[in-house]
Amino acid sequence: MTQLMLQCLLPILIIAFGIVLSLLLIAWRRSQTLILIFTLTIFSVALLASFSLFVNLASDIQVTTLVKVDSYGLFAFMLVLIASIAVSLLSSTWLIHTTEVHDEFFILLQLVVLGAGILVISDHYAALFLGFELLSISLVGLVGYSRDSEFSVETSFKYLVLSACASSFMLLGIAFIYSYSGTLSFTDEPEILTNISNSDSSVGNVFFYRVGFLLFMVGIAFKLSLAPFHLWTPDVYQGAPTPVTLLLATVSKIAMFIVLMKFWFSQAIFVETKSSDENILFLMSIFAIASMLIGNTLALKQQNIKRLLAYSSIAHMGYLLIVLMVISPHSVELAWQSALFYLTAYVLATIAIFMTLQLTQYNHHNTELDVNDWQGMFWQNRSLALLIIVAILSLAGIPLTMGFIGKFYLLNVAVKAQQWWLISVLIIGSGIGLVYYLRIIFVLFSTAIKANNVNEKNNPKELLPLPLTLTPAMNFSVVIIIILSVLLGIFPDLLANFLVKPY
């Protein structure tokens, strides 16, 4: 364990240390503000640490066999941290209004971040497994955090049981892969290639590898809520407190996707024959196509915003899978770049929408926010409405926003890999997606009263549940997100250059 290695692990260590300190802090004094500030500090420090590491990182650094720190992972971790900061800020506004004990929330949050951190740098199934479970188990706690909610038990139970199921599938998959290859590391030269003299005839059967791969993907797909393992997503999204949903939608997805990419691009060497290669690619395209179509279709007529976002996230993960279709080694960098850019756009947009959701939800005093509850927001609260519009356009992949550039990257990858089927489905999916995205935007502009009751025009109160005032800080962050989304949408190189490895 050299000093360099320790440096590389610094962001993770900060978080881990922060958790211990937080526990001590709670023991010392239970104060929500205090723990919030502390958590934010921890995250910010970790963010700074990872940023400086990111900037100074000269090459990939293998820290033991378990983890490998590279710039992509670090960038993803920064995204995770940004999302987590957003989550902590949002949860503070929510927690004030609940009767719960708040402090553990932040501990759990930090644990989630720690899990995500381990995931994004993991280079070994064991590390992956650890990070995965750290993430899942803490999330189970968070998902059902508001005990007074009628859905808390149901949500946590669903998440717990299904997530445990999924991890079992994944573990079995890892076991199969291990039995084929003889190593648990992603990057190590597999035993199968070095130690052929193994007496066991069944060892090295490629069928094991395939089954293992499939089972492994079940676990990952569950976490990424890829169709057909998406069924839990809307229920948990809806039942969980809004900040936790944001966590689910961003942190857990980023971490899982990054680890999937790491696994994928290192496992590619396992693939011996062209036919088996196509076999697994085919499996991945099934995931991608099913997700794009099913996600968008399910969102089509959905009224509940959280469920709608759940469905739309399914579709987005489907789009994102396209980057895995890269076969030629020199396109891998493009794939990473595309994935990270797309994820950034997705995270920014998701944060924006959940932020608005949390603010308006609190204003509404109910948890079930319908699309129609945002009616006419554009005329009431322009900055917030603009935020939603930019976010939605970004999700829909319309120019002027980051989402478009993200989609442009994906299409670049797809065209390069000549995945015409995926491209067609992506186009169809985007088309379907526009229906519900535009519906949300139009609702913001709509001035008609819900029941089309024109006579009650002189009663604006019924129409407008949201003349809500934002704190300056909120306003500031709203503007920042808007500017960021549009700026990076017009000058993507500001970010893209950043993503290219400096070495």
């Binding site: 005329w379 356009l393 319309i398 120019p399 002027l400 478009f404 442009f408 299409l411 670049n412 797809a414 065209v415 390069k416 491209i423 992506l426 186009i427 169809i428 985007s430 088309g431 526009l434 229906v435 535009l438 519906r439 935007i441 139009f442 502009f445 709509s446 001035t447 000058f491 993507p492 190189d493 893209a496 250059n497 290219v500």
Partner: protein, 493 residues
């Protein structure tokens, strides 16, 4: 000569109008009127004072934009784009004027959207970096969709979504083609490039270009629109506010034709030549089908919308005839249809503002009270069915005359569109202005001075171009067009 300035000016004017809305709603109108006027004058002056020879594409700006993809901010002009931009700016003026009294709600934001879409359209007509082109192509949709969705009629959301999805899906297909082209450039030269001029010199294998051409073609055919992907248009036109319809019919459809001319035909000469029979047939089907559908409509705006489909069929047929006469006819059709359909939509808007209905059954006998409007309406209907002396006639005549050189049978079938257009033109004019007064006995006001200004300026242009089309055609007789056509003709030999 700065096109960027034109676009920024429009955007700035729009933003100003939006800002002023809060202070004094009325000012938004004047600000946008002034903006369009100033920009128009600037454009005219700038054109006259440049030394460029616009008979070929002149690169005006070229700045690196997204270096990682070698995407550039590159704008260029030639006569085609100049004519279309002039049309756009002129119609922008018309749009501002027709919305003068129609829009009373959120005036500032309305004008912002209007001017922003104009700016986007100007961008489309000038961008030569294909990514930039696509960028503008998409961006111009947003404000137009907003116009439909916010200030439209009863079914506006549906129409706006339909409009957006049609164009978006088709343009994504184009985006794929664009990306593929840039990769081909990469394969051939070792560098990505989205620049149109770079693409022109690529040596493309035919097997590939067929598909690439189709990618572009679909996007433009949807925008044009051509049967069978036309069906967004009637809805969008019907539901849009008047200015929106004017904008859609007058300019937006032209971007499709522009794309066909500039990109499909010139980037993929051989492929489009192979595809030409299909495209020409689509054009003919559009002509006849549009005319037939127009006849069947009860909704005034829908009728005009379908007539646009019919007219754009002429463009499609003409463009894929690879003939200089037809090519001139197509360009002239763009201008003429821009003016005449804008006028008809403005007419529909004016009628709607008077009787709050678009249903032809609720109209009739308007001549009694509104002889002036009737006179103009007659002239514009006459333009729509191609009365000689008005611009549309020369346009259609040239299109068909040229098309006949290549597709005799198709052209003869297309000529039946002339009968169809007469039928719907008559139905349109007569059911509004002839017959007994259907509804309310109270008098309907005749044209106001503002409306008179709108109509007379449109009619003057229509007549001028109709009697002296050489004023436009002279720009399109120069060598570069011959070059284009030879380019395509050369492939045949």
């Amino acid at each position: 000569m700065s096109i960027t300035l034109v676009m920024c000016g429009l955007l700035f004017g729009g933003a100003l109008a939006w800002l002023l809305e809060g202070i004094k709603p009325q000012s938004a109108r004047w600000v946008s009127l002034l903006t369009v006027l100033v920009i128009g004058v600037y454009f005219a002056i700038a054109l006259n004072s440049t030394a460029y020879d616009f008979s070929t594409l002149q690169l005006l700006v070229r700045v690196a934009w997204i270096p990682s993809f070698h995407i550039e901010y590159a704008l260029a002009l030639d006569y085609l784009s100049i004519v279309l931009i002039s049309l756009t700016l002129f119609l922008a003026l018309i749009c501002v004027l027709v919305s003068w009294q129609e829009i009373n709600d959120k005036v500032g934001f309305y004008y912002f959207n209007l001017l922003a879409s104009i700016a986007g359209i100007v961008g489309v007509f000038t961008a030569v970096d294909m990514f930039l082109f696509f960028f503008f192509w998409e961006v111009m949709l947003l404000p137009i969709t907003a116009l439909i969705a916010i200030w439209g009629h009863e079914d506006r959301h549906f129409a706006a979504i339909k409009f957006f999805i049609f164009t978006q899906v088709s343009s994504l297909i184009m985006l794929v083609a664009i990306i593929a082209m840039s990769f081909i450039h990469y394969q051939q030269t070792g560098q990505l490039s989205f620049l149109y001029q770079d693409w022109l010199i690529l040596d493309l294998p035919l097997s590939l270009t067929q598909y690439l051409m189709l990618g572009f073609f679909i996007a433009f055919a949807v925008k044009l629109p051509s049967v069978p992907v036309h069906s967004w248009l009637p809805d969008a036109h019907t539901q849009a506010p008047t200015a929106g319809s004017v904008l859609l019919a007058g300019v937006l459809l032209k971007t499709g034709a522009y794309g066909l001319i500039r990109f499909v035909l010139q980037l993929f000469p051989q492929a489009s030549l192979n595809f030409a029979p299909v495209a020409a047939t689509l054009g003919v089907v559009s002509i006849l089908y549009g005319a037939k559908m127009a006849f069947a409509q009860q909704d005034l705006k829908r009728l005009v919308a379908y007539s646009s489909i019919s007219h754009m069929g002429f463009v499609m047929l003409a463009l894929f005839s690879f003939n200089i006469i037809a090519y001139q006819g197509a360009i002239l059709t763009l201008v003429a249809h821009g003016l005449s359909s804008a006028a008809l939509f403005a007419l529909a808007g004016m009628i709607y503002s008077r009787i709050h209905s678009r249903d032809l059954n609720n109209m009739g006998g308007f001549w009694l009270n509104t002889p002036r409007m009737g006179g103009f309406a007659l002239a514009f209907c006459a333009a729509a069915f191609g009365l000689p002396g008005l611009a549309n006639f020369v346009a259609e005549f040239l299109s068909l005359l040229g098309a006949y050189q290549r597709y005799p049978i198709l052209t003869i079938i297309a000529a039946f569109g002339l009968i169809g257009s007469a039928i719907y033109g008559m139905v349109l004019f007569q059911s509004v202005f002839h017959g007994k007064r259907q509804v309310k006995p109270q008098a309907i006001n005749d044209l106001s001075a503002r409306e008179l200004l709108v109509f007379s300026s449109l009619l003057t242009l229509l007549i001028f171009i109709g009697l002296y089309p050489n004023s436009l055609l002279d720009f399109f007789q120069s060598e570069n067009i011959k070059l284009v056509l030879n380019n395509t003709a050369g492939v045949t030999k």
